[in-house]
Each structure stands twice: as structure tokens, then as C-alpha cells.
Assembly symmetry: D2
Homo-oligomer: 409 residues x 4
Amino acid sequence: MDFAYSERVQELRGRLVEFMEEFVYPNEKTYKEQLEEATARGERWTIPPVMEELKREARSRGLWNLFLPDSEYGAGLKNIEYAPLCEIMGRSPIAPEAFNCNAPDTGNMEVLVRYGTEEQKKRWLVPLLEGEIRSCFAMTEPDVASSDATNIRGSIRREGDHYVINARKWWITGAGDPRCRICIFMGKTNPEAPRHEQQSMVLVPMDTPGVKIERTLPVFGYDDAPHGHAEITFEDVRVPTSNIIWGEGKGFAIAQGRLGPGRIHHCMRLIGVAERALELMCERVKNRVAFGKPLSEQGVIQQWIADSRMEIEQARLLTLKAAYMMDTVGNKEARSEIAQIKVVAPNVALRVLDRAIQAHGGGGVSDDFPLAYLWASSRTLRLADGPDEVHRAQIARLELKKERRPSPH
Amino acid sequence: MDFAYSERVQELRGRLVEFMEEFVYPNEKTYKEQLEEATARGERWTIPPVMEELKREARSRGLWNLFLPDSEYGAGLKNIEYAPLCEIMGRSPIAPEAFNCNAPDTGNMEVLVRYGTEEQKKRWLVPLLEGEIRSCFAMTEPDVASSDATNIRGSIRREGDHYVINARKWWITGAGDPRCRICIFMGKTNPEAPRHEQQSMVLVPMDTPGVKIERTLPVFGYDDAPHGHAEITFEDVRVPTSNIIWGEGKGFAIAQGRLGPGRIHHCMRLIGVAERALELMCERVKNRVAFGKPLSEQGVIQQWIADSRMEIEQARLLTLKAAYMMDTVGNKEARSEIAQIKVVAPNVALRVLDRAIQAHGGGGVSDDFPLAYLWASSRTLRLADGPDEVHRAQIARLELKKERRPSPH
Amino acid sequence: MDFAYSERVQELRGRLVEFMEEFVYPNEKTYKEQLEEATARGERWTIPPVMEELKREARSRGLWNLFLPDSEYGAGLKNIEYAPLCEIMGRSPIAPEAFNCNAPDTGNMEVLVRYGTEEQKKRWLVPLLEGEIRSCFAMTEPDVASSDATNIRGSIRREGDHYVINARKWWITGAGDPRCRICIFMGKTNPEAPRHEQQSMVLVPMDTPGVKIERTLPVFGYDDAPHGHAEITFEDVRVPTSNIIWGEGKGFAIAQGRLGPGRIHHCMRLIGVAERALELMCERVKNRVAFGKPLSEQGVIQQWIADSRMEIEQARLLTLKAAYMMDTVGNKEARSEIAQIKVVAPNVALRVLDRAIQAHGGGGVSDDFPLAYLWASSRTLRLADGPDEVHRAQIARLELKKERRPSPH
Amino acid sequence: MDFAYSERVQELRGRLVEFMEEFVYPNEKTYKEQLEEATARGERWTIPPVMEELKREARSRGLWNLFLPDSEYGAGLKNIEYAPLCEIMGRSPIAPEAFNCNAPDTGNMEVLVRYGTEEQKKRWLVPLLEGEIRSCFAMTEPDVASSDATNIRGSIRREGDHYVINARKWWITGAGDPRCRICIFMGKTNPEAPRHEQQSMVLVPMDTPGVKIERTLPVFGYDDAPHGHAEITFEDVRVPTSNIIWGEGKGFAIAQGRLGPGRIHHCMRLIGVAERALELMCERVKNRVAFGKPLSEQGVIQQWIADSRMEIEQARLLTLKAAYMMDTVGNKEARSEIAQIKVVAPNVALRVLDRAIQAHGGGGVSDDFPLAYLWASSRTLRLADGPDEVHRAQIARLELKKERRPSPH
């Protein structure tokens, strides 16, 4: 066993930390101000110019597409190598995009690398890798409990050399972004097929007639502009059959492959979120005095700090272990570990954030600190990609299936 | 012992429930739409017209100023009588104002009834009771840990027959409301006096020169328009000495009297919040199917419902007990119970809301249901009027002081 | 609403508290020593003489059979009146018996009062009320999940004017007591009847041939001598048919009536347990110094005390509310509240005990304080009379059945 | 990073697992029966013969003294190598002794290896390594909060070439063992020295005049015979000055070195405890039916299993990480991680055990399964070697000391 990061990872971490300190943190405020100025001009859904500057700078330093395990198109890092990098990016809401490592684009790019045709890659993957366009992923539906993916009923009907798509989808993250050009749509090509072969994924350009963004959904009051979470109707949307990914009935199989790494990316970012919250809490309590001594010397506050540290350490180790297993025994064998981090990481981040908010008093629930926003966005991750309770049930089923020679008693 | 509500309370509850169903719930959407229309017109900080209609209707039915224990100016209800009514109002974010029972106006009116001069009552109390103007309360300061009230350092300096006020205050709820005319300001008249006689309260009309609303603070992305939570600077603000309430050095004493009932009102509203969340959760889970059966038949969901029910029942009883003690032995003797409900009620509401959000999936974090907004506003109540940890410390101190004949062992 | 105890209750509480201080607490040590001496003589399962003295004293003061709502045979107190008395008895493991108010005898006496024939009353009820004999209740079986009472399969077969009983039962509390003469046995008279009419209760004298105590079961290392929890086999045990209680198929109906009051008694005793633990914790932390100040001034300890106080207050109020409902609307309508206290009370007691143990250091897990023993016996009450999870499921089902006019959103 | 155990560790684990299955589990019952037979003979404090057989067998297979990092006297394994082995031993209460790896002997042997003179090693270390004698460690005192080690006031006074020892100590684990010959005693040689140089450790043969075992202390009803936890008085106990370990004033320094590995051993054993509890829970719920289906298919039970799995995985990884840091950067640099596992491991084990107990119904609190005993002994580890709250405070202090370049906000 070896708990040390490899030299390559350490070197990349060093450069990432430096970039965060030099460019990202100081520009969080700039980003927000540019967004507010745009809003005041009536152009809320536009990209703050500082983001394109950050992207250029990150790319020029080779901190670009680190997420992609494929070494032809991306950095060729294993999950265990990318995880500690992704954590650092997670410390700021604006960081992942600066490194072209933000969801849902990362998952979509990975799908195209693995299952896309050459034509699909050329048309959509390359501009995504360049950071020129953005993408979205349309699976969840408002009318059914989407936690059970077999409930998904968006229709993909074949008509000659086209598919005709009809559906109402929501929580389509990134669809509000003016640069969003392509959607990976999941729906049923064959409702009569065996349960896990009914679904397919199809590429739908956002400007296809019949694609309509009905509204964007707020998250605890945050609209997440300029990316947003859209509710979209697809009404008789026609795309050529060549837009199918991998083939009809492959939707589930792709989803499984897509969600594994995606989940671990979310989790590593959440570790970064939690670390930043703990850091802010420590700074705060050293500098506030109540009832005659600094908050940092009060037992209850110390308990919050200790509990946060213990929870973060454990969550990070579990995430790294899951990454290690994905690399060594594969996503399928690592199912339980992936489900475990999917439950653990958001809950740990939320607990640490909640304590940090409490330690910040009124400031904590406002936007003077990033805590409230990070709390709101972390809260969605107890629902997105499967709610806690569904993952817990899966963990239990896998546990109950283990072969054991029971000890007598 | 008797756990039944009195006939008068039952009758009033019946009428309140009816009003909520007939007027309040159906107009929540109207209120939001009118606010959005005003926002689109660039007039976000204006009162949706439906609110004045609701107020007229409630007043015409005698559901008005129920909060005020004084029977000359108000309904003359005891805390134990008002508590079950306040709970019902708490079920909707727009209800308390409709009944002229919203914070911070209720606390301010009570201060004026108890400690105001005839002149002060005439000028400020009467229009507040009529619902014509609104008020705010300026205590918390951004630069110090205001959980320890002795940290408050806003300055009230006497110059002849005027006070000159200088301070930076924040979290001044309601100050963004265009009808807000008067502020009760808390600060130090005499920093040299004994610790609990340094502070005073002074009436400051909002249009006094030197009063400047710097900004309003969001709560988890919600700006709470049209009321808002303001950061205000007071720069050489001059008011006549007749604007002092009760007298110099009485700030602490008034605060103590003000916060007791105020806290219990918040808590009863939070019980109402929790009840509504549980109700929405029950409706939701009956109507969603996942993995072959309704969510309502799944064990984990049932556990959420049961835990919510048990927590709500207990929190309500504790709040009623505290109200009973305030009525029978007084706020001072009821200190521990008041502190207890101040900790219990928001935490219970937050837990129930969190479960309800989880049961609603993506919808839960959006504004399609009132859950996310109620969560955000309930979260502030673990900080406002003293953070949990300060109340816990007080409860413990009171417990440790109890005289006991210890049992041997 | 009125949270004050009635004058009669206050008077009785005063006398009970006095009795506890004068006789019970000082004799806890005596009781233990007498038991140890008997053990050293090889006579562990004998009653320490001090107990009979305590009983005489309590009886002479009219503190006897207070549990029994029937005013012919007992004190004629309502549940809401007995609950605050029962709490006081719960503060010492040896107190309930001293007042002839200990489980399972109380439940058994109540069954005989309500459903017994004159003959059954004369033979068994009277000596139980006199405190001359003890009884037990045989329901739970080792081979099935008895949390689901329909699993119970002990057989009661009629043969002429006798019943022939065959079963293996365990957790028969009190069966190890040398004074235990009578058992209320629950089993199936008719496995073909509708589900809730298969079971019956039959009186089985402990000296009937075929009744064999196989062993007593320890609870976390405590054997609970001289009462114990027995595993008993019933092999072709014959009793006259006149020993049936109420009639064949009435087992469920009786159990429902029996368990309601029984549960509330357990819960009130648990409130007493928790109060004593909190009291001991407060004493302890005032008198121990670590890291330069008394434990009582350390924030984390204060949090334990505050949380304990809040949990106890709420649990007590909920238990009283349940008692009130049993008195006013009946056990059936109070089902949810009874289930709620059954979950809440043991869990609260266990949490308070655990904190008190932690505050006592090594002493807490030993028998130098009553904490460890009380923890072990409280832990069984998360299982006895139905495990937490079964009660939670019932609370949820009742909640989901409520008729509601759902608010729109 | 590499999460795989080394080949040597895997090979040893395989052999240990085999030994557990072949010899340990089947003999748990034998051990208990032999102890009960001895008790019936009035010889409770004697070693069940099966233990010496197990020791011979384990030794013959080279599974002996694996704990000792020193390669001259022991197996020469690093902490990261021993941890996964120790976990397996932790699965049975009787296993560690069979491998000569039980506390407190392991810690004592390590102290002698590191700090003992040749003479001390010859006289005490060798027979301990051979498993011929047992030892104890006397630090905790009943009269002071020993969580703050500076409170310890046992006196070691020098008189010529002897030390004269006076003290009352308790929780001296293993002192009841008839084979216990030697005690490492901690007390003050110089109350005037700087705070961390007042304490020393001295070897005290158990048969020295003045050493008196006053009693053994039960743990939740368990007396832990034949080892026990003793209260011992030391009255004018005289030992030669050559019995000092390392030198006067070195008590703290030795304790620090001793407690690091000792803590990690406890924690790894606790992981084993938790794994066995989870295993027993899984077996149980597959084989019990309630309300129409196996417990294993009920959502709440599945949640217990999933939560247990997640907590165990995280606790194990944190323990391994701490072991790794002890090996690579040393005990001092690993202080926070050691404190973290000391808090995490017992709490995780207790939670998993509690769920397993609940799933076992009445059986869970009895001795028909090892759960209740393991719960009781695990509970002591939230107190032994420093209570949770002291470790939490230390973790917080170390966290607050970290140098950080705080991010702006």
C-alpha cells in the first residue's frame, strides 16, 4: 500500500494550486461582477469575458482536458491520477470550466471518445475539447421518478433515415449557456425490448426545430446563470439516424460507463468544496471574539473543525479507493465503491459547509462568502445521478450477495 | 393537565385555516407572478397588489393583529392562545403579513405598546397596527460576533436635545420594503456604563439624513424582495432625544422583553412550515412510483415520514409549553424553555424540509414547490436572535444552576 | 391548554419523591449487597430482604398499586395522572417493585382486571395486588421474528376440558423470580382462523408439569437476578379450559389493550431514567477538573447537557400527550402517539445515558454508578414490545392515511 | 497510490483467516464453556485450557508476535503491514491472545524493546514474548480526570537505591489474569519538574509487597474474566531504582511512543469487530421473515447495511493511512491522523454493532451472539487512551495551526 501521490500528480497539483491562487480565486469576484453588469444590461445569459481569459491561460499552461483518460484526445490520466487534481478544481465554482473539465461536458466528451463515430467526433468532440462549444445531457423527466431509469419515457421513433423525438426533460444543466450547441438525448427507441435495451442515446443539435427551452430552474434561489438548468420540450424533433451513439438499445450501457467517472469527478470536486469550507471556517473563527475569547478556542467550534477534518479525510480516501478500483478492476467490479462515494461525498460536503455557514453567522448565508452557493449546488448532488436512497439500496444488495463462510456463534 | 385548545382558539383556528385555503394558498402563485412582473418592469422592490387585498380581507374578518397581547391595541391573546394560530400563518411565506402578524413589525409594535410614549405610539404604533407602514430593527453588525450582544458597538451620542448616531448594521429585515418608515436602532449611549446598561434603543425614521441602505443581502440566492435584508450605514444621523424608547441604558432590558415573544412566534411559524413540508411529502410519495411500487410503500420513505411526525409533535409541544410558562411564570423564569424552542424548532423544520426536498427529487430544490425557499429562510433562524450554540450554552448554565439533592450511588 | 399537574398528582409526586430520597436511593446499595451475599451463598435467585421492607413501607404510605386505573382494585388514576408518578419510580431500578408497579406484573394485573373471570381474579389477581406473588408474560419466540406477531406459533390445542400447550418462548421477564407463580401464555388456538383471531391467552401456573425454565438470558452481561429473562419450554403442558382469558381468539385484542398502557409506563420510567442520568452528569462535571477548568465550563460538555435537557423535555411532553389521548379518545385513536413515544423514549434515554457515561469516564461503564445498568436495560426497550422500525412503519402508515386538503403550489 | 496489500501481507492474511476459521471461531464456545465450568468450580479467574492450545498452534504456524516491528524480537512488520492482520484478529475476542498480540501486553513489550535495559528485557520481555507471563499497565486513577494526563498523581519517591510507590489506580486491564506478573506503573517522580517531565514509568512485579488488587471492575455487566480490569492500591511499594524505564521524567515521552501503535492496534481490531457484526447482520436478515418478506429486502434494513459498509470502508482507509504515516513520517507528524482514528474507529464499530443488535432482536442483547459483548468492550474504547472529546480538541488545534494562504472571497 502506498498513500503518496505519484510524482506526476504532485507536479500537476503544484501547478494547479498555483493557478488557483494566481488566477482563479482573485477572479471569482470579477466573474460575479461581470455577470452582474451583464444582468444590468439585460444580458444575464452571457459568459463573463474573464472566463475566456482563464481558459486561454490554463490551456497555455497545459492544464487542459486533464479529465480525459484517452491519451490521443486528452491527458491520458488514470482516475487515481485525475482525482487529486479534480479536487483542487472543485474548490472554486468557476475553476472546472477554466480547465475545460466541467460537467456535463466532461461526461459527454468521454462518451464521444468511447462510442462516437469519426464523423461525430469531428463535428462535436473536437470543438468541445477546444472549449469552443458547450453541451448538455437530457435524461431526467419531470413526470416520473427518474431515480428509476426504467421510468424514463421520452420517445425516439425511427422514421426512415431519421429519428423523431418527443419528450419533456428537465434539469438539463448547461442548456442555458449561449455556447451550448449539442445535446445528448436519452430516450426509448423500443419500449418492447428487454428492460435494459429499450433506451438509446442520440445527438441532438440545440438549434434543431422543435427543441424549446421552456425555462431554467433555480436551485435554492440561484439561477446558475450563465449555464442554468433547463426544462426543455422536444416536439417532433428530427435528427438523422447517424446521430445515434453506438447503436439502438445501448442507452443503458453507455449511461453506466458515463456515470462511473462522472460520479467520481463530482465527488472529488466535493472534497475540494469541503476543504475550502473548512479552510474558511478556520480563518473565520481565529478572527472573531465572543464571550471573551476567540471562537477558535471554544469547545463546540473545535468539535466542528475536528468532525469536518475526520469526515473529509475519510471521504477523500474512499473516493481515491473507488478511483483505484475503477482503474484496476473496472467500473463494474467497483460498483459498490462508486455508489458509496456518491452517497458519502455530497453528505460530507454539506455537513462541513453547514458548520462553516454557522461559524460565519449572517455572512454565511449571504453571498459575501462562497459557502451558501456551494451548499445549494452540493445539495443537488444528493439527487443528481441517483438519489442517496437508491445508491444505498444498491450497496446493500451487493453486500448481501457476497459469498461468506459465516462464523459460528 | 389539558392538551386541548380552548374554544376561542379552536374557533379562530378554524377561521384561519379557512382563510388560508380560500385566500392564501391560491394566491401564493399570484404573489410570485406579480413580483416577477414588477421585476420585469424594473420595479422589483414594490409590493404585489394582491397583498393589500389579502390584508383588507383578513382585517374585515377580524383576523388582524392577533399577535398583540395588549387588549386595547390588539387581540389580547395570551401566548398559549396565539401560538396555535401563529403556526397556521407560518404555513405560507405570504400569510403572516396578510394578518399583520409578520416579523419584525410584531416585535416592534410590542415594544411601542409596552415602552413607547403616547407621542411615539400615535406617530408610529397606530399606522403599524393599521398595516399602513412597515418597520425594521437594527441591531446586528457585520464587524463583530453579534451573537454576544455586548460586542455591539453602534454609537448613540447625545448632543443637546439630539442623539447623533453612527454605525454599520446589517441583516435589517424589511428595510427594503418601500413602506418601511421607521427603524428601532440599538446602540451604545454609554460605553462606560455597567455592561448591561450601555445599550439603548432609539426610533430613527428611515428618511432621516445619513441613513443609507448600502445593499440588500441574499439568503441562499433569495433576495426576499420586496422586504429584503439590508446593510445600512448610519452616518451622523440626528434624531431628537424624545425618540429614545423607555430611557438611556434600557436597550438590553427591552431586547430581553422583545425577543421572548418574538422567538416563540418564529418557532410556531416553523412548526407550521414543518407541517406543510410533511404534508407535501406525503402527497408526493403517494403519487410517485419507483422500482415497482409507490414511494409511500418504501421503508426508507416511511422512516422519513415517521421521524418527521415525531419531531414535529415534540417541537410543537415544547413550544406550547414555553408559551404556557411565559404566560404563567414570566419570560425570565421561562428563559431555558425559550432558549430550548429557539434551538429545536428551526432544526426540526430544516430536517423535515430536507427530507421533503429529497422526496421531491429535482423539483424539491427548485421553486416549483415552496420547500427550497422555506429551507433557506428557516436556515437563517439557526442564526438570527442568537445562534444555536449560544442558546445551548445558556440552557446548560441554567441546568447546572439547579438546586438538587443528589441521589447517592 | 394547561401544563400544570393536578393537585392530587402534585401531592402524590411530593410523597413519592420523599420516599425515593428517604428509602429507595439509600437502599440501592443495600439491595446490591444483599444480592451479592446471596450469590456468595450460592443463592443468587432470591429476593434481597430489603425489598420486602420497602414494599411494606410504601404500602403503609398508600403508595401502592398506583398504576391501576380501576378504582375498585387500584388507585383509579388516569394515565395522565399516573404518568408523572411513574416517571419518578423509573429513576431507580429497584423502585417500581417497591410500589408494586413493576413490569410485567402491572400489565398482567390490568389484563386480569379487565378480562379475568371472578375465579381468575380471586386466584391470581388478588395475590398479585398484595405483592405476594409475581407473574410473567410469554409471547416472544426464539425461532421467528416476533416483531411481526402473526409469526408467533406456540400451540394451544384443546383436548376435552383442557388445553395442551407446546412452545419454546424466550425473554420471559420475571420468570426467574422465586415468587413467580403464574404465566400469561400467548399462542395459537386456531391456525386456520382469520389472521387476528388465531391467537389466545391462557393462564399457566408455573408449577404445571411440562413448564421448564431452560436458562435465563443475560442483557449485555447483566443477568437481572433475581428476576431474570427466561427461555422456557412448554412441553405438553395441560391446563383446564377455564384458564383461558376472555375467550379463544382474543389474544390479539387483549395484547392491543395490554400493550398501550404498558408502553406508556415503560416510557415514563425511561424519562425518569434520563432525568437521573442528566442529574448525575451535572453533579459529575461540576466536580471534575481537566485542562485547567471544571468540565462543566467546557463547551462540548455544556452541549451534552443542553441537548439532554431539550430531548428529555420533548419526550416527556410527548408521553404526557399520548397519555392524555389514551384517556380522552382511547387507545385506538392514540395509536400513532403511543407508537411515537415507544420510539422516542428509549432512544432519548439511551442518548442521555451515553453522554452521562462519557462524562463519568471509566466509572461510567462500571457499576459504581447506575448508568451502565440503566443503559443496558433501556437498550432492550428498543426491541421489546415491538422494535423501533416496526413502530416507525406504523406511524408512517397512519400519517399517510390522514385526509388532507392539499395546498396548491 | 496503491491500495493493494503487499504479497507478504496477503499471504499472512490468508493464513490468519484460515486459522480463525479452523481454530478460533469453533473454539469461542469451548472457551466460554471452560470458563463457565471453572466458575462453577469457584475458579473463575483461571485460563481456559483451550487458550494455551490455540497459542501453541498459532506459534507453530509462525503466527506469533506479528505486532512487533522489531525484527530481532518479533515479526518486523511495519504498521501498514500489521494493520490488515490485526483487523482479522479483532474479529474474535479470544483471537488476539492466541497470536500473542493482545493488549496491553503488546504495548508493554514494545516499551521494553525500545526503552528497556538488557536486564529488563531478559527478565520480563522474553517471557512475555514467549507467552508465558502476562503484564499490565497502571496509569488511570479514580480520583482525577485522567483524560488530562497531567492530573495523574501517583507518587514515585526515591529512597536510596529504591523507589517507593504510593497510588490508587484503576482500569488496570489484565491484572486479574493469574499469569500477570509485571506492571508498568506510571506516576510522578518529580512534581516540581516542567509539566511533561514530572512523570516516570517503573516496572513493578505484581508480587511486590504493598500491591493489592482491591477489586475488578465490570464493563456493562461483563467482568472480563479471566483478565479483568482491576482497581489496585500501591502502598509503600518498594522496587529497586534499576526498575525505572529509560530514566526519570521520561514517562510522557514513553507514553507518547507507546500509545501511537497501541491506538492503531485497537482501531484495526475495531474494524474487524465491525466487519464481523456486519457479516452476522447480513446472515441474520437473509434468514428472518417479517411482514411477508425477508428482512434483507426491507428498505430500512438495507439502509443499515449500506451505512455500515460505507462507515467501515472509510474507517479502515483512515486507519491504514494513519499507519502509513506513522511508518513514513513518524508518530509525531501523524498525531492528527492517530487522533482521528482513535475517535472514528470505536464510534463506527459501535454504530455497526448497534444496528446488528437491532437486526438480531432479543438475541442481539444476549450472549447467544458475540454482539453485546463486543459492544460493551468497544464502548470502553471511546474512553480508554483518551476520550473522544480530548482527541477532537487536539485534531482541531492541529488544524487551526496549519499554515494557509487563505483564498480571498
